[in-house]
Amino acid sequence: MIWTPWTAIMVVIGLFALVLTFYTTPKAWTVWRRFRTASLEERYTLEKAFYLVSTVVWVILIARIVGVAIYHVAIETLIPLVPGAMCEWGIHQAGHPYSWIDTILKLFVLMIYGIWLSLDMINRRCKGAPLMGTLAKYFVLLIPLLIVDSALDIAFFFTVEPVVVPCCRVVFTAENPLPCPFCFVMHDAPMFMVVLVGYGIAIAMMIWGFTIRGYTKEPGDLGAVSTRFLSRLAVVSLVFAVIGTVALIPALFQVMAPYGV
């Protein structure tokens, strides 16, 4: 492993997520299994337990989501330390096979974790925590993903050694019709990072919205809160799409307009 401040942060976030996940799992499991059949008194106890679960899960999921950005920063810091690596592709070669699986997984985690966070925000705004059982169940279902996500980070950064690696020039030669995605986005046209983040969040919010939509038809508090939340989510999603589009203009100029002499 090559220790840099950023790889150290990634390892700490990974270990932190694993420990908290193992701590929360039995509590979430208890809430999920007992929620439907609980008496009023027992339900109160489960609600108290669930609030602890909810708070800890927020910490875990937010850490994992922030970890997506830190993950790429950590990889960038490794480039000068791995001989032959010219971009993230080279570091991925050094961390093969964990690196590729981890990066592909990172493309989807925001969408998946965000569903749980959105539902919990609705649950916190409703009287009587109507989604408590559902959220506990969803968290238990998320556990394999959380473990794989965190474990892959640790495995990847522990695998990277300062050995000579082939970089993107092996695949993305002058004859290849596609550019190296890492070179293109991270080095040549960095405004595309803003475009990708803007559109990525917009699409993720749409997916959260599709999950929430089913609850808008529920009677009472849950339906009203879900409807309001869905409307806000739609507007914020549009705002991020606009941010992505505004950033697209200078990004395209980075592709089109070379440095004139």
Binding site: M86, Y259, G260
Partner: protein, 146 residues
Amino acid sequence: MGSIRKVIPVVVVCIVILAVVVTAITYYSTRASYEETPKEAELIVHDVKINRRTHSLTGVVVENNSTASLSVAQLNLMKVQGRIVLCKLDLSPPIEIALGEVKTIDFSCPKLDPEGADYEVVVITTRGTLTSYIFPYPFEAGRPSQ
């Protein structure tokens, strides 16, 4: 409010699809501009001059092997992995290279990536033909090039 909820996802999807199409068209139209240009076999790029301290290209060494003089009208520096033109120099008036002459043309481009990449210098003549030269910077097979 209900209609806004239904319309916004459609708008967002349309924006994203449009952005992908515009980006692809822009990228491939920029890149394709050299692929259709005929090659100039008689003009050879021998070397490039690089200032390693500032990570910048400073010049291009070209030789004319044809039976007549050639004039260079434009120089471009492309990054092979990104296929993006990093620097462009329009020579006005064009620089003439006499028969058998080796000439260094000043071409300043401060955009070489210190982390490493392959670059292609594209030399375009007044005849509308081109010649190119690919060089790595700063690494060669995992070691710093000399």
